[in-house]
């Protein structure tokens, strides 16, 4: 085996460490993100749940539903949003509540505006408030969008920072592992069985 094969082996080893490290970090991340929840395999549980967990409902407090509105429709909305977003910790569960409440409010304000435009007798008294109502509705929509952006930013940010930090760690280890490549030929039989190393095209060709 020539020295280029030793280098290929080192590359394969680097790839294996990289993969292992990323998986390991991702595992740590998901464990940490569970927060106070006593759940494992969070995604699966959230996708299959038929109602919001009691501990989360307690955390959420009173629903923003008026006596004239449909509480079951609100609960269904919360469940669907939670299933789609797949919250990974308490903070994200609080954001789910935000999105649901704001969506509910947007729908309510739109309904009010429609009734205003239709000239419902009772709501004629609100005609002067149409502009204000419109402004409130716009503000609520803006807040909902901000929460959605924040969820996106948070997930991307955590993932990208973990990847960068992981890369830094791996680069450090790669340098350490490259040093003994000169002696690879002698110690080849003692190497760990890395799938990536065994299937590397250059190495297989040799």
């Amino acid at each position: 085996v020539d020295s280029s094969q030793g280098h290929d082996y080192a590359r394969a080893q680097f790839h294996a460490i990289f993969t292992h490290r990323c998986e390991h970090l991702a595992g740590e991340s998901s464990k940490a993100m569970l927060g106070g929840m006593t759940m494992s395999n969070q995604d699966l549980i959230v996708k299959e749940m038929t109602q919001i967990p009691a501990e989360i409902e307690e955390l959420w407090g009173e629903p923003p539903v008026l006596p004239t509105e449909d509480l079951k429709a609100y609960e269904k909305l919360c469940l669907e949003v939670a299933k789609n977003v797949g919250p990974t910790d308490i903070i994200e569960w609080l954001w789910i509540k935000d999105i649901c409440d704001l969506s509910w409010e947007i729908r309510r304000l739109r309904g009010l505006k429609v009734r205003l435009v239709k000239g419902d007798g009772y709501f004629n008294t609100m005609a002067r408030n149409y502009g204000r109502l419109d402004a409130v509705a716009a503000a609520v929509e803006s807040r909902r969008n901000a929460v959605l952006r924040e969820i996106e930013r948070r997930r991307e940010s955590v993932a990208s920072r973990l990847r960068k930090a992981s890369d830094d760690i791996i680069d450090g280890e790669f340098t350490e592992h490259r040093a003994p490549t000169e002696t690879i030929d002698e110690t080849e039989g003692d190497r760990p069985a890395l799938a990536e190393a065994n299937h590397h095209p250059t190495r297989d060709a040799a």
Binding site: L25, R143, E150
Partner: protein, 140 residues
Amino acid sequence: MTTARQIKANRANARSSTGPRTDQGKARASRSALRHGLSVPVLSNPSLSKQVEDLALKILGGNANRVLLELARAIAEAQIDLDRIRDARREVTALTLNGKVGQLALLDRYERRARSRRKSATRAFDAARVECMLDCEGTN
């Protein structure tokens, strides 16, 4: 319309008043200027402080890091503030149906601030948590 005689009598009566005398009356009068209480800091209320602490521990999820605990408290404080605003909003929404949209708009200012505080606190918490995780990773 109030007559000059009535105004004079009202002023004389007011001068002779020394304010509420019973504890119940004093407690009620102390809340005269209180509209919604949203400008009062959460931590000045013992009951809300307890809620902040409980929520912070839930956010922390068993992690014993002191820096993370402080940041989790900041998130919890902003969240409890948002909960207060949400409750006030629910009450005002019922009034909105009677044409008092202006009151709903007034709450926006408080909500915007609380949301901004929660966002900053969450970002700081996430950054610290990732660092903490990587420190642990580095020591393993």
